[in-house]
């Protein structure tokens, strides 16, 4: 050793770092939570596998799907799409002013920022299906309560991501526009909006993807869409008709997901860098050249408006198509927006009736339900991750060399993700009866596919140069994976584990609505008997748990950075 160390004894183990302590504490807490949940839910591998057997025999009875009632199924599927579209659109429109108020660089006043931020995060507090159930009680059955629930709940994510996009806008153009004497509002529209717009549209598309899933389950509580059809078929034991409806959901969800990811890719991956253009297809290169020629020509002719380049055509065309779809949605959905006007005060009243929350009447059931929800979330997360990790490795292009394996895994993941979790849960409950086991099982399967996709993305983002260095010293593929890939991907993956747990906690609180265990059952029950104060207590408890997990998550992410 060098003399710099002085008299200190040479150490051969690295000093313990705060990071490692944090990691150990989290891992222990997570494993402890898992073990406790597993034991108290009376889970056993046996019940698990027998459950899967029940599901298999139910799926056997579902085949072949029966499309004889296809008119009804199709119109319910379209209603699902229209509901998601309207809900997302309304939410995005509401979020524009909210986000400009919430972004540091555009807010008129810090106090406004605080209020907007607070409102945005509050809207996420209650799961949409619970909002929908509440609204159904006030506004009666139909798509309107579903659309309202989607619109309100989406504000949380859309508003947050819109504000982030605005804050990421470069400050120099804003200063430049201010310096010519423009007003604040003009400056924001001319210099910040164009920078944030692509990312805002991508956010709305992504949320539409999520909302399609949501609107296909809202029917379970009577809030319109295909979920109603699925539940009706299962209740009347018409399993083949149920599968027909489920397969329509699957087609809709998968189609929208493919469309949205394509659009988002072209919005966000767009790059005017020549190198990036060169990598694109010959056709797109031709378009770029054609556009450049059009632009030059227009300038030479001293035209005063931009020419119709393919880029501009594409942009305007998509805008027009989107507008048509939204208008069609508003026309076709049976949604008495104005007819329901006299009922809106009731809506506010019911929301007011949640207060003051009454924790005492159903105290024991409340505690039991909450505990069960948390346990379901832990078990589903633990088991799901166990399955997700190997799947993720198989789905990573930079780890598995065989393209067919990667592609096959990715397709399986995409297909499995096509059925929303509450629908999986409904089917499992039909197969295995009421209780936490079918709910856990359903959530586990959904977690596995969801987390596998997230992990695969994290693995693919790993910097390749350390890997090459290890291969250069003669490491085996396994050694290289453990020493170069894992440590790089670990922080991202840990962050995602927390995120998955967060998502599962939210989900496990609503599983009970379809009889899958947890607090959701009590929630629906309290609404049925109009004990809104108890409903309020449950909603607040859910909010507290979800919020606590979110806080822990962001704290840990900061510590790991």
């Amino acid at each position: 050793m060098t003399a710099i160390v002085g008299g200190a004894p040479a150490r051969i183990a690295p000093p313990v770092q705060g990071r490692q302590v944090v990691l150990t504490v989290i891992a222990t807490a997570f494993l402890g939570g898992f073990a406790w949940s597993w034991l108290s839910l009376d889970m056993s591998l046996l019940s698990f596998f027998s459950g899967l057997g029940d599901v298999r025999s139910l799926v056997g009875r579902m085949l072949p799907p029966d499309f004889s009632d296809w008119r009804n199924v199709l119109s319910a599927t379209l209603e699902t799409l229209w509901m998601a579209l309207i809900g997302t659109f309304v939410s995005a429109v509401v979020c524009v002013p909210l986000a400009f108020g919430a972004a540091r660089n555009t807010t008129p006043h810090p106090a406004v920022r605080l209020v907007c931020r607070g409102f945005i995060s509050l809207t996420r507090a209650v799961p949409e299906i619970i909002l929908a159930a509440l609204f159904v009680f006030v506004l009666s059955i139909g798509p309107l309560p579903g659309v309202l629930a989607i619109a309100i709940h989406s504000i949380g994510m859309i508003g947050k991501l819109f504000a982030d996009a605005i804050e990421q806008a470069q400050p120099t153009p804003k200063e430049a526009v201010l310096s010519v004497g423009a007003r604040r509002f003009q400056t924001t529209i001319s210099s910040i909006l164009p920078q944030a717009l692509p990312s805002m549209i991508a956010t709305a598309m992504y949320r539409l993807e999520i909302n399609i899933r949501a609107s296909s389950v809202l029917g379970l509580v009577g809030a319109g869409g295909i979920g109603f059809v699925i539940q009706g078929a299962l209740r009347s034991l018409d399993y083949q008709a149920a599968l027909a409806a489920v397969s329509m959901v699957f087609v809709l969800v998968t189609m929208i997901e493919l469309l949205s990811s394509r659009v988002r890719q072209s919005l966000l991956g767009e790059n005017t860098n020549i190198l990036a253009v060169r990598r694109e297809s010959a056709w797109s290169r031709r378009m770029v050249m054609r556009d450049a020629a059009l632009n030059r020509g227009a300038a030479e002719e001293k035209r005063l408006s931009p020419p119709w380049t393919s880029e501009r055509l594409l942009r305007s065309g998509s805008a027009v198509i989107a507008a048509i779809f939204i208008v069609v949605a508003f026309i076709l959905v049976d949604m008495p927006l104005l007819g329901a006007l006299p009922k809106y005060p009731d809506l506010v009243r019911v929301l007011g009736d949640l207060f003051p929350p009454d924790f005492s009447t159903a105290r024991d059931e409340l505690i039991k339900g909450m505990r069960e929800s948390v346990q379901i979330a832990f078990v589903a997360t633990g088991l799901g991750l166990f399955v997700a990790f190997p799947l993720a490795v198989l789905a990573s292009r930079n780890i598995v060399v065989r393209r067919a394996v990667v592609l096959g895994t990715r397709i399986v993941l995409l297909l499995l993700r096509g059925i929303p979790e509450l629908i999986v849960a409904v089917i499992f409950v039909s197969a295995m009866g009421l209780g936490p086991v079918p709910g856990t099982l359903a959530l586990t399967i959904v977690t596995a596919t969801f987390a596998a996709k997230l992990f695969a993305d994290a693995l693919e983002e790993v910097d390749p140069s350390p890997r090459e260095a290890l291969i250069a010293v003669g490491a085996s593929r396994k050694q290289e994976f453990v020493s170069a890939v894992l440590p790089q991907a670990l922080p991202a993956i840990l962050g995602q584990v927390l995120y998955v747990l967060d998502v599962n906690l939210r989900s496990s609180t609503v599983l009970g609505i379809v009889g899958g265990g947890g607090i959701g059952f009590l929630l629906l029950g309290s609404m049925r008997v109009l004990e809104y104060e108890t409903t309020g207590a449950i909603v607040i408890s859910i909010f507290v748990i979800v919020y606590a997990i979110e806080l822990v998550g962001s704290l840990v992410r900061r510590l790991l950075r």
Binding site: T172, P173, E175, A176, V180, G181, T187, L193, T272, S305
Partner: protein, 271 residues
């Protein structure tokens, strides 16, 4: 204090008296600076990094507020101006930034048109939201900076020198009585730098506009400007007609570091 040959107030586009600026974090960026700039003069402002050049220009455009002294721009005391009055001064003062300040996703024409936002009312997004007469003028200004053919190209497809020329065209849309330029060529290669400086100089002389421009390349400043003002640690240490100065005497500004020099004075990189 160095005596100034331009002492009189009459016809001064800019008049700065005992100007100081202390930032909330305690940094004293400007310390008792006084000078006048008569109309039509091209003034080069030089000094080490951190000497307060940007702060001075930003105060003149109301982007910072002084903590002491006065700064009159086109007859208005900008330190006390707010709202409509401040916007009115800004409307007549062009500002060229080192980082151009273009909206990359917008076309060059739209960026140039943004120079009129102080005159037109209401929010504008897209070239077609501006009146035809302004669009025609924007094309003329782009032609003047030699970029008419790029009018409908997105600004982020241009080179740095071209972007700065678009930014200058945007300032020209203001018909500015005073042009402030903060290191307009610092992120450009030598050839583009020469082009851009030549452009600013030509504009100043053809329309007899007042220009205050901060520069790092001293030898460029000498041949280009009428007058050179040097700042050091927030204090005015040099103020002479460019013709009376030699390169060596200007370099003094970069060499002498008084007792109140910034703590982390960087190594001098000769321009």
């Amino acid at each position: 204090m160095t005596s100034s040959p331009w002492g009189s107030d009459s016809g001064a586009a800019v008049s700065v008296a005992s100007l100081s600026k202390r930032f909330p974090n305690g940094t004293l960026a400007l310390d008792d600076v006084s000078f006048d700039v008569p109309e039509g003069q091209v003034l080069a402002l030089i000094g080490l990094s951190g000497s307060g050049k940007s702060t001075l220009l930003r105060i003149l455009n109301g982007l910072h507020r002084p903590t002491g002294g006065t700064a009159r721009v086109l007859g208005v005391e900008v330190g006390g101006a707010r709202g409509a009055q401040l916007r009115d001064v800004r409307r007549h003062v062009g500002f060229v930034f080192q980082q151009f300040g273009l909206v990359g996703r917008a076309t060059c024409m739209e960026n140039v048109l943004m120079g009129t936002l102080g005159r037109v009312r209401g929010p504008r997004l897209g070239v077609r939201t501006y009146p035809v007469a302004l669009r025609r003028e924007a094309l003329d200004q782009l032609e003047r900076v030699g970029l008419a053919s790029a009018a409908f190209q997105r600004a982020d497809t241009l080179s740095g020198g071209q972007m700065q020329r678009v930014a200058i065209a945007r300032s020209l849309m203001q018909h500015p009585a005073l042009l402030l330029a903060d290191e307009p060529v610092a992120s450009l290669d030598p050839e583009s730098s020469a082009q851009v400086l030549e452009l600013i100089g030509r504009i100043a002389r053809e329309d007899s506009r007042t220009v205050i421009c901060t520069l790092h390349q001293v030898e460029l400043a000498l041949g280009w400007s009428d007058r050179i003002v040097g700042l050091q640690a927030g204090r005015l240490v040099l103020d002479r007609p460019a013709t009376e100065l030699s390169l060596d005497s200007v370099m003094e500004v970069y060499r002498r570091t008084g007792g109140e020099a910034p703590v982390e004075t960087p190594q001098l990189q000769t321009a």
